[in-house]
């Protein structure tokens, strides 16, 4: 005789150790099994799009810092690309290289956070997280050298970057580049062969590719499911055209693949940074532009980058004034969350946390 059971609804979040920000999930459980999920967000909604309509084009750079606050550089880059396309600005080559270099360092930092938190969600009590944060700290130190801030960098400007890197930045970067691969090896050693981690992530949270494409998912989760689609390759911006790097692709689209893709992308990013350092020509870093930009009336542009989370796009429409008429932000985290029901329903509570961690959302970007 089957036992009569009742589903139980649990509110996970907005304050919960592993919802990655103020994210709330109303989950219905049947025992440990998830039968229904309803995501609720908006707790961090700051109205960035509305604020952007009241700021001038340079001031908006400071707003973009706060979207995905673990990857401010790529946010800056996406926005600056959109403004440059809006006005037809040509960025000096050195400026482009500096932007790519900073963005790739930021990608490493962001992936370190993603990996660390994935393992934290697995229950590893902070040890891998601490190691990841230790390395991220070195990157943030580099950013502080570069632009005086660690998280909310505001480094890039429409037309380039705000200023060239200081002289002592280059030796510090070299030291970092020499050191980082050995650390990645260590991290892989700690994690990639650990049987407990493998049984927890292998074949858990599989996402089929066709569903991902239909759901507008992008970034590492798309690549983990087997599609080698990277906007840096498909639609090269800045100097990515002249740089060599591979796009790591997974096969199963499970948590292990997503984790593996991020690990490989960190190595590729290191490769890109190294190439940037070697190829960087001298010259100006910022196009000669007035302080207050006025794009032509009716112009519109879509600037996008491959941010650590996926395709980050800014859709700008100008009305000829000093601030955009409309600034739409296509945030990868929000669109990747569309998958949430496929990702969570049918798995256990413990897997739910890991699956959620593996798509690496950032609430600053989801709610904007």
């Amino acid at each position: 005789m089957p036992i009569r059971t009742e589903p139980i609804t649990v509110n996970i979040g907005p304050q919960h150790p592993s919802t990655h920000g103020v994210f709330r999930l109303r989950v219905t459980f049947d025992g440990e099994m998830i039968v229904d999920v309803e995501p609720i967000f908006g707790y961090l909604h700051r109205g960035t799009e509305k604020l952007a309509e009241e700021r001038n084009y340079t001031q908006i750079v400071t707003l973009t810092d706060r979207l995905d606050y673990v990857a401010s550089m790529t946010n800056n880059q996406a926005y600056c690309l959109a403004v440059e396309r809006l006005m037809g600005i040509e960025v000096p080559i050195r400026g482009q290289y500096l932007r790519v270099m900073a963005a790739e360092l930021q990608r490493i930092a962001s992936h370190l956070v993603a990996t660390g938190f994935l393992l934290q969600d697995l229950g590893a009590l902070g040890t891998p997280l601490m190691y990841c944060f230790r390395e991220r700290e070195r990157i943030l130190d580099l950013f502080e050298m570069l632009c005086g801030a660690r998280i909310t960098v505001s480094y890039m400007r429409p037309g380039g970057v705000y200023y060239d890197a200081p002289e002592d930045f280059w030796p510090a970067l070299d030291r970092f580049l020499d050191y980082m691969p050995s650390y990645l090896d260590e991290l892989e050693q700690l994690l990639a062969e650990n049987e407990i981690i493998l049984v927890r992530v292998r074949n858990v949270g599989n996402l089929p590719l066709d569903r991902l494409i239909a759901c507008s998912a992008s970034g590492p989760i798309l690549r983990a499911s087997g599609l080698a689609w990277d906007w840096r390759k498909a639609d090269p911006y800045d100097v990515y055209d002249g740089l060599e790097f591979d796009v790591p692709v997974g096969t199963n689209g499970d948590n292990l693949d997503r984790f593996w893709v991020r690990m490989q992308e960190m190595r590729q990013s290191l490769r890109i940074v190294r190439q940037c350092v070697e190829q960087m020509p001298p010259g100006p870093v910022r196009a000669e532009l007035p302080l207050v930009l006025r794009p032509p009336k009716g112009a519109e542009s879509y600037g996008r980058v491959e941010s650590p989370k996926g395709e980050l796009g800014f859709y700008l429409i100008s009305d000829g004034g000093i601030s955009p008429y409309r600034c739409k932000i296509r945030s990868p985290s929000l669109l990747n969350l569309t998958m949430i029901k496929d990702l969570l329903i049918g798995w256990k509570l413990a897997d739910m946390i890991v699956n959620l961690g593996s798509i690496d959302i950032n609430m600053g970007e989801v709610d904007r």
């Binding site: 908006g42 494409i213 507008s216 409309r326 296509r330 669109l335 569309t338």
Partner: protein
């Protein structure tokens, strides 16, 4: 290899062939589809073997005071091309556009967000409620005539 944008003239002809009288207006760079047909045209673009625009990058809405414009950006992975598709919805009330959620489930949150912030309804969306703001929030903040509350 850059992502190329489809030529608007050719695209318009292509669409006209399948859905005559669906194009409202076209300029050198812009293409407007009549609002009631937008979902059908989107489905056509997604399934057409020559275009295969299977990936919906984003949906955004713009408030032009006398009308709203809903802008779709879609990409084909196979041919690496994308296109913008626009539709104009007149009126200041709660204008309606057919939802594309059946075609791209990824439109779900974006359509809800547009309803929340811009006040454009999407017909056929199963869960058309506010997403970022709370139920009962007065007005739609991204509209140009939205008045800020005096004090928060």
């Amino acid at each position: 290899m850059m992502t190329s944008f489809l030529d608007v003239g050719e695209l318009a002809q292509h669409i006209q062939a399948a859905y005559p009288d669906s194009v409202e207006e076209q300029t050198a760079s812009h293409l407007w589809i009549k609002p009631p047909l937008i979902a059908d045209v989107c489905r056509f673009l997604k399934e057409d073997p020559e275009l295969k625009l299977e990936f919906l990058n984003s949906i955004s809405a713009v408030d032009y005071i006398d009308h709203f414009e809903v802008v779709y950006l879609m990409t084909s992975f196979e041919f690496n091309h994308s296109t913008f598709l626009r539709t104009r919805v007149p009126g200041r009330g709660e204008p309606e556009v057919p939802s594309v959620i059946e075609i791209w489930p990824g439109a779900d949150y974006q359509e809800r967000e547009i309803w929340d912030l811009m006040g454009v309804r999407f017909e056929g969306h199963p869960n058309m409620k506010r997403i970022l703001l709370w139920e009962g929030f007065p007005g739609h903040p991204l509209r140009k005539d939205f008045q800020d509350a005096v004090e928060y």
